[in-house]
Symmetry: C2
Subunit: 205 residues, 2 copies
């Protein structure tokens, strides 16, 4: 069995979906948390970070980089990508792309709130987050099936991806998310999954 | 057996990789070519274009949309995604993301040349294509293995994706591509594959 070691900052954002996928899939992994202060000293370590970026996933002696690549890799590993049904898999991949587009837009707001890029938070809320939500979320929500997930076959990596994005928004724009019932319910549904619930509860302590 | 029908404009660009994947994989498909004039009349047809966009792939009574989703779907179908080796698959997925980032940047130049967006071609060459090439291509080329492909296991969907992107640049910026020996050789290598060679030769008649 290969040993999985994930390296990312000690906060959610781009590395968090990978953690959720491991946790939900019941796959043991080492969750290396690199502090913002440590990172400049560590990123030149080619053995640990061959690409000079995080998240990076060590799989035995191999390295997998780029968050979406890592997500898809763990999704396959955890059998959360519905690969056994090629059309369901492709349909989930469509939704993944919709969520990815929303993530890319919303991320600018999130990193403004966290102070990683300069900018007025209220202005960023009105000019970035709200339009991104209006543009992407109706297309995403249209794909939620009667069972509450993006596939009639049950939960997938894409539900965890979208749930984690909503969880991030619940941290930085809680009142806003609460005012959007469909997405708020989706966030509640994902974070009510026992293993995710436990992970998130521990994370917040 | 499902029947595959691809709808896209009568030119390469975002639908062409799908065609190459079908052709290389020896999978029969209907290559519907929609003219630029026809498209505004057809795009409201929800049966043909449920998302109002092209490319769209009809698989029996199902529809798959979004070029990367379609590419990955056909890659699996044609066994060109090396899914049998999860780490090789992930490594190829990494290169796919690098090529995708280059495609997104270079595409702005291509559609300027074709007149789909306004802009001066020479200015776009200097300000868009050249910097995009310098930014992305060294990272992509670093992944070419001794056998000339992105995996030591042999050709994959990512080679066809990058080869098709270079083929597009060979149409709009031939002299530039010729001046870049590594990429030029890669383009020659992909388009020398018998089925691709035959398809491209017919396409240009």
């Amino acid at each position: 069995m290969p040993e999985y070691e994930l390296y990312y900052f000690d906060f959610p954002l781009r590395g968090e979906v990978a953690r959720w996928l491991f946790v939900y899939g019941g796959i043991p992994f080492k969750d290396h948390r690199v502090s913002v202060e440590e990172w400049p000293k560590l990123k030149g370590n080619k053995k640990l970070f061959p690409y000079g970026v995080m998240p990076v996933l060590h799989v035995g002696n191999d390295r997998v980089a780029e968050s979406h690549v890592i997500n898809r890799f763990i999704a396959r590993l955890a059998k959360l990508d519905h690969a056994e049904d090629p059309l369901d898999h492709a349909r989930l991949d469509e939704v993944y792309e919709l969520v990815r587009a929303f993530y890319d837009d919303a991320f600018k707001y999130v990193i403004t709130v966290f102070g990683f890029i300069p900018g007025d938070k209220n202005k960023a809320f009105e000019e970035i987050l709200v339009p991104a939500f209006e543009k992407h979320v109706p297309n995403i929500e249209r794909n939620i099936k009667g069972n509450g997930w993006f596939s009639e076959r049950g939960i997938s990596h894409v539900d965890l991806f979208y749930g984690q994005l909503l969880d991030m928004l619940n941290i930085v724009a809680q009142d806003f998310l609460k005012s959007e019932p469909e997405s708020y319910k989706f966030w509640q549904r994902v974070t009510a999954e026992p293993r995710i619930k436990e992970f998130v509860a521990k994370r917040k302590q």
